[in-house]
C-alpha cells in the first residue's frame, strides 16, 4: 500500500475555487442528503423540477474534500434542463469523465454524488405517489454505496460511544 498523492486537475481546482450552483435552494421541489459527517463526506442536492419532469435548477451543498465539492458541482451542471430520466442515467463514471479525471481513491466522491441525486429523484416520485416504469425497483450501485457509507458511520459512532 502506498500513499497516493492528489494531483487534482485544473477543472477540479476551478470548481473547488468557484463552485457552480452552490447553496441551499429555498424553493426546491425536492432535496436529498447522502453521506455522513463522520466519514468527512456528505452532500445535499436541491432540485427545482417543472411539470414536465425537467430539472430547471439544481444546486448543492457539500461537506467534504475538494473532489467531493467539484463532483457535486459538476453534476448540478450536467443535469440542468434534463428530464429526471436523463438525470437518473448519469453515472459516476460520466462525472469522472466530465471533470477530466480524478485520482482513483476519489472515485467514491462521484459515486456519492450520484447516490444523492438518485435519492432525490426517488423522493420526488414517492412524494408524487407514483413510480415511472424506467425507475429501477432495486437500489442501484451508487445508492447502495451511499447507504453503505452511512451504515459504516453509524457503526463507528456506536463503537466510539461504547468506548466513552
Amino acid at each position: 500500500m502506498s500513499r497516493v498523492p492528489l494531483p487534482y486537475n485544473q477543472k477540479v481546482l476551478e470548481l473547488f475555487r468557484n463552485p457552480k450552483n452552490l447553496g441551499r435552494m429555498e424553493d426546491a421541489t425536492v432535496s436529498a442528503v447522502a453521506g455522513n459527517p463522520m466519514c468527512g463526506d456528505m452532500i445535499t442536492f436541491y432540485l427545482k423540477i417543472d411539470d414536465e419532469e425537467v430539472i430547471r435548477k439544481a444546486s448543492f451543498e457539500s461537506y467534504g474534500c475538494a473532489a467531493n465539492i467539484a463532483t457535486s458541482s459538476i453534476l448540478t451542471e450536467m443535469i440542468k434542463n434534463k428530464t429526471l430520466k436523463q438525470a437518473w442515467n448519469v453515472s459516476w463514471k460520466k462525472i469522472v469523465e466530465e471533470i477530466g479525471g480524478l485520482p482513483s481513491i476519489k472515485f467514491h466522491c462521484g459515486i456519492l454524488a450520484v447516490g444523492a441525486l438518485r435519492r432525490a429523484i426517488r423522493k420526488y416520485y414517492e412524494e408524487k405517489g407514483y413510480t415511472p416504469k424506467w425507475l429501477p425497483k432495486e437500489l442501484t450501485f451508487e445508492e447502495k454505496q451511499a447507504l453503505e457509507e452511512e451504515e459504516l458511520a453509524e457503526r463507528l459512532a456506536k463503537r466510539m460511544d461504547g468506548q466513552q
Binding site: 497516493v4 468527512g40 457539500s62 474534500c65 475538494a66
Partner: protein, 408 residues
C-alpha cells in the same frame, strides 16, 4: 498527472507571503545548514568513514564531531550512545525490533500509549503478527496525558519494551517521561524504556543520562535539519540488535555507508537550535500562543486539541474547525500561501481520521476538521499575523460550501 501538478503549483503564483507550518511532515532546511553540508558532498569527507584514506578519515572526523555535539545536547554520556539512522522511522523500528531480537523473543509484552506515533503502533502490530508479541495500549485523558498508575500496572516481568513519546507530535502533550521511565525500571529493570523524542529534541531540556531512558529517537528535520537522517540514543549496556544486515559500518546499529553530509547537517541544525535554547523556546512559545489564541478568538466553533500553556510543546498548535472538512481547508489555505496538514481521513488517505484525536475523545467530525501547525525558531511575528489574516476567510469559504449540510 504531471501536468496537473504543474497547474496546481501555478495556481499559487502572486502570493503575498508564504508561511510553511507543516513541520510535522517535512521541513525546509535553512541556508546555514545547507552551507555546512555542502563541502561534504563536494570537497571533503566524501570517503567511506571506515576506510584508510584521507577522505575517509575526514568523514569519520565529521561523523564523530556530529555525534559529540548531539550527545552533548541530548545529555548522553558518550558520543557512542548516539547511533545515526536514516531517519526517525528507522530509529523507531530499530528500537522496538532491535529490542525484540536481542531478547530472543523471551519477553513478549510491549506497552505503548494509545496515541503513540503511527510508526510505533505499526511496528508493535508487526511484532505481534511475526514474533507473537502482545501489545498493551494504555489510555490517555482528554488532553492526551498518560496516567502513571496505568503504566505501572501494565508493566510486569513479561514486559519487553515500553514506548511512550515524550511529546505527542500531533497534539503537543508533554508526558511525564522521566517519571514514566523511573516507574518502568522500578517495576522491571530488564524492560527497555524507549521514547520517541522527535518532537521534544530542541523543544525542552532533558539530559538522557540523568534519566532511566534506555532508547530515544531523535529527528533532524523537526529541528530544521535535512530529512533522511535521525538518531537513536542507545544508553550504554542496553540490549538491542541491528535490524538490517550489510557491510559493517562505523554505526554499529545501521550497516551501509554513512551519509556524512546529512549527519553534518543534523549536527549543524542541532547547534543552531541548542545555542540559545531558552530564547528559541521562548520565541516559539510566544508565536504558538499568538497563533493559537488568535485563531480561537477569530474563528467560531473551534476546539483546541491537546493541553495549553507549559504542558504543551512550545511549537505545537492543533485546532478542530467544526463544519469544515480538513482536506478542503488545507487546499484553500495553500492557495493563500499557508501550508498546513489535517488529521482528516481524506488527507491521511485512510478510512478513519487521526487515532490521536479519537483517543482524546474527539468525535470523527471534529477530527476531520483538525489542522496541525508547528512554529519554528525562524518564523516571525509577521508570518503569524499573515496566517491570522487569511485563516478566518479560508474557514468561512469552506463553511459556505458546507452550508446547512452539517449542523454542529
Amino acid at each position: 498527472m504531471i501536468e496537473n501538478v504543474e497547474e496546481l503549483i501555478k495556481a499559487h503564483e502572486k502570493l503575498e507571503r508564504e508561511v510553511y507550518l507543516d513541520i510535522e511532515n517535512s521541513s525546509p532546511v535553512p541556508e546555514e545548514v545547507v552551507e555546512a553540508m555542502l563541502p561534504y558532498f563536494t570537497t571533503r569527507g566524501y570517503g567511506n568513514p571506515a576506510l584508510t584514506h584521507k577522505p575517509g578519515w575526514e568523514a569519520y572526523e565529521a561523523i564523530m564531531k556530529a555525534a559529540q555535539k548531539i550527545a552533548k545536547y541530548a545529555g548522553a554520556k558518550t558520543p557512542e550512545e548516539i547511533a545515526f539512522t536514516p531517519g526517525e522511522t528507522e530509529a523507531n523500528n530499530l528500537a522496538l525490533i532491535g529490542a525484540a531480537l536481542a531478547s530472543k523473543a523471551k519477553r513478549k509484552k510491549i506497552v505503548v500509549s494509545e496515541i503513540e506515533p503511527v510508526t510505533i503502533l505499526h511496528v508493535a502490530k508487526m511484532l505481534e503478527e511475526k514474533f507473537g508479541c502482545k501489545t498493551v495500549k494504555i489510555p490517555v485523558d482528554a488532553e492526551g496525558f498518560i496516567n502513571l498508575e496505568n503504566l505501572e500496572e501494565a508493566v510486569d516481568k513479561e514486559t519487553l519494551i515500553v514506548s511512550i513519546a515524550a511529546v505527542n507530535p500531533e497534539i503537543g502533550t508533554i508526558q511525564p517521561i522521566k517519571e514514566a521511565a523511573e516507574i518502568v525500571k522500578t517495576r522491571n529493570p530488564n524492560t527497555v524504556f524507549h521514547t520517541d523524542f522527535s518532537d521534544a529534541y530542541g523543544k525542552m531540556k532533558l539530559d538522557f543520562s540523568k534519566t532511566d531512558i534506555d532508547l530515544a529517537t531523535i529527528s533532524s528535520y523537526k529541528i530544521l535539519g535535512p530529512r533522511g537522517v535521525g538518531a537513536l540514543y542507545v544508553k550504554q549496556g542496553t540490549k538491542i540488535e541491528k535490524i538490517i544486515e550489510g557491510q559493517i559500518a562505523t554505526q554499529k546499529f545501521w550497516p551501509g555507508i554513512e551519509n556524512t553530509p546529512l549527519i553534518v547537517g543534523f549536527a549543524k541544525a542541532s547547534e543552531l537550535t541548542f545555542t540559545d535554547l531558552d530564547k528559541n523556546i521562548g520565541h516559539m512559545r510566544r508565536l504558538r500562543d499568538k497563533l493559537m489564541n488568535g485563531l480561537l478568538s477569530r474563528v467560531s466553533d473551534t476546539l483546541l486539541n491537546g493541553p495549553s500553556g507549559d504542558k504543551r510543546a512550545p511549537d505545537n498548535v492543533n485546532i478542530s474547525f467544526l463544519r469544515c472538512e480538513g482536506e478542503a481547508l488545507t487546499i484553500e489555505l495553500s492557495l493563500k500561501g499557508v501550508y498546513v496538514s489535517s488529521g482528516s481521513a481524506c488527507t491521511r488517505r485512510l478510512l478513519q481520521p487521526s487515532h490521536v484525536l479519537t483517543a482524546i475523545g474527539r468525535r470523527f467530525e471534529a477530527a476531520h476538521g483538525s489542522i496541525l501547525m508547528k512554529v519554528t525558531r525562524l518564523h516571525t511575528e509577521e508570518d503569524i499575523a499573515y496566517v491570522l489574516k487569511v485563516f478566518p476567510e479560508a474557514v468561512q469559504r469552506i463553511r459556505k460550501i458546507v452550508g446547512s449540510t452539517v449542523v454542529s
